[in-house]
């Protein structure tokens, strides 16, 4: 039978785990947006060397599984660099750099999807490269980028569960911990899944509505 008391008795642990999950989600999305903006612009650069660097970054992080990146940066990187890297830093940096690559792709695709005639028109009016980007390209690109940005951020929240592999005490880690001493995996993991659903279903619905809005925008 489903024993709800396991959840209520260990609610503080789950709550702590949820806070850690949210902390990592929000901080790595914020950092990842900065990284993605920089790398995305690099990918759009007319300079071939800078463009290639952006491309290499994106392909590097898109083609290594996140779990491998996490384990590598926590267990292998310290040996390479002869430094101590805490699990919080390893987790924070891995997740930020990882999602940065995906945000960079969203930015690149968003900007490249803009009709080249828009750039022609802005250029012909005498706008500088910066003015073209700020006044004409980005305002149009951001509209296209919002739905995939929200979608990728939702995936990021789910991806934080991989932090438990390097023993960061996130929601899933606390769930495993509770289940290890209560022997009630069914109740605990159902609760963990339920918490994700409650948070992410409204966000997904929001992303869907934004897609519809985007369709009507132009």
């Amino acid at each position: 039978m489903f024993d709800l008391s396991v959840i209520t008795a260990n609610a503080p642990l789950l709550w702590q785990g949820l806070l850690v999950t949210l902390l990592y989600t929000i901080s790595t999305i914020a950092t990842g947006l900065l990284v993605g903006f920089g790398i995305g612009l690099a990918q759009l650069s007319p300079n071939r060397a800078i463009k290639l660097m952006g491309r290499v970054y994106v392909e590097f992080f898109r083609n290594i599984p996140l779990l491998v990146i996490l384990l590598w940066s926590y267990y292998a990187l310290p040996i390479f660099l002869h430094v101590n890297i805490t699990k919080s830093w390893a987790g924070y940096l891995s997740l930020s750099l990882y999602i940065g690559a995906f945000y960079a792709e969203i930015l690149r695709a968003g900007v490249e999807g803009i009709d080249p005639g828009q750039v022609d028109a802005a250029t012909a009016l005498g706008m500088s490269a910066g003015q073209r980007l700020r006044r004409v390209i980005l305002p149009q690109a951001i509209r296209r980028m919002l739905p995939p940005l929200v979608g990728q951020s939702i995936i990021q929240m789910k991806n934080t569960t991989l932090l438990s592999a390097i023993t960061v005490p996130d929601l899933l880690y606390q769930g495993s911990y509770i289940s290890s001493f209560t022997y009630k995996p069914m109740e605990v993991y159902t609760a963990v899944a339920g918490i994700f659903l409650v948070i992410l279903v409204p966000l997904t619905a929001l992303a869907r509505r934004m897609e519809g809005f985007h369709g009507r925008a132009h």
Partner: protein, 272 residues
């Protein structure tokens, strides 16, 4: 022709342009005087749009010289050596002295009609917004668009959008207006309103370089018709002279095709 570069509002000398291995312009000379309307004609692929886009450096030529209003914007030797080395800021300032109207209008879809017209004067020309809006409304009124100022481009017809694009280009008070097939993307019934706006502009004394397939427009507004073939100017002169008694075989063939389509229409016209 042969007008000295200094007295021309636009001077193009020995312009060469290629896309990769394809040679598009092979030594074009074109001098446009203040208030003159030049219509560029030619088959597709003859280089007329490339020539137009070279004037404000939307296309990057390999060599030659371009002077706008007495200021050189481009000057490269035959080996491609840049004799000007203009900073981007400088190029942008000279470029703003030309106004361009595109085949696909290219209005900014995220801005109102008014904002489309005021954006460049405000952020490039550094004119106070209020003054720019007054001037923009005057331009829109002149083009019969005053009731559309608050709308988005997508709410307008193609003909209206193209007239907004003309207003947007005029708002920068250009010394010369460049038109790149401005009616080619329009439904036939919307061509007239854009042509009328261009005729009015030509009559007002605006210097214009126009790429078009509308031979009627060429007759109506051109002081000079320039015919391009294979990246070179093969004929130039008053429209009546060039189009009615073409001496160059390619011009003759071009005009003959126009006659053909008129001939095909004849039964319909006679039936009406």
């Amino acid at each position: 022709m042969g007008a000295p570069t200094e007295t021309c509002i636009l001077a193009i000398e020995n312009l060469h342009l290629c896309y990769g291995p394809r040679q598009i312009l092979r030594g074009v000379d074109l001098f446009v005087r203040q208030g003159e309307v030049v219509v560029l004609l030619g088959a597709s692929g003859s280089g007329k749009t490339s020539l137009l886009r070279s004037i404000n450096l939307l296309a990057q030529p390999q060599s030659g010289r371009i002077v706008i209003g007495g200021e050189p914007i481009f000057d490269r030797a035959d080996d491609g050596t840049d004799r000007l080395r203009l900073p981007a800021k400088h190029i942008e300032r000279i470029r703003a002295r030309t106004g361009m109207v595109f085949q696909q209008f290219n209005l900014f879809p995220h801005m109102s009609v008014l904002r489309n017209v005021t954006e460049a004067p405000v952020i490039v020309g550094q004119i106070p917004r209020e003054k720019a809006e007054q001037e923009a409304l005057a331009l829109l009124t002149q083009l019969g668009l005053e009731t559309h100022a608050g709308k988005r481009p997508a709410q307008l017809s193609g003909g209206q959008q193209q007239r907004v694009a003309i207003a947007r280009a005029l708002a920068m008070k250009p010394a010369v207006m460049l038109f790149d097939e401005p009616t080619s993307a329009l439904d036939p019934e919307l061509v007239g309103e854009v042509l009328r706006a261009m005729v009015a502009l030509a009559r007002s004394g605006m210097t214009m370089v126009v790429v078009t397939h509308e031979l009627g427009l060429a007759f109506e507004i051109a002081d000079r018709v320039v015919f391009l073939d294979g990246g070179k100017i093969v004929a130039a002169g008053p429209p009546a002279e060039i189009l009615l008694s073409p001496s160059h075989p390619r011009v003759a063939a071009f005009v003959a095709r126009f006659h053909e389509s008129v001939d095909m229409l004849k039964p319909f016209l006679e039936a009406v």
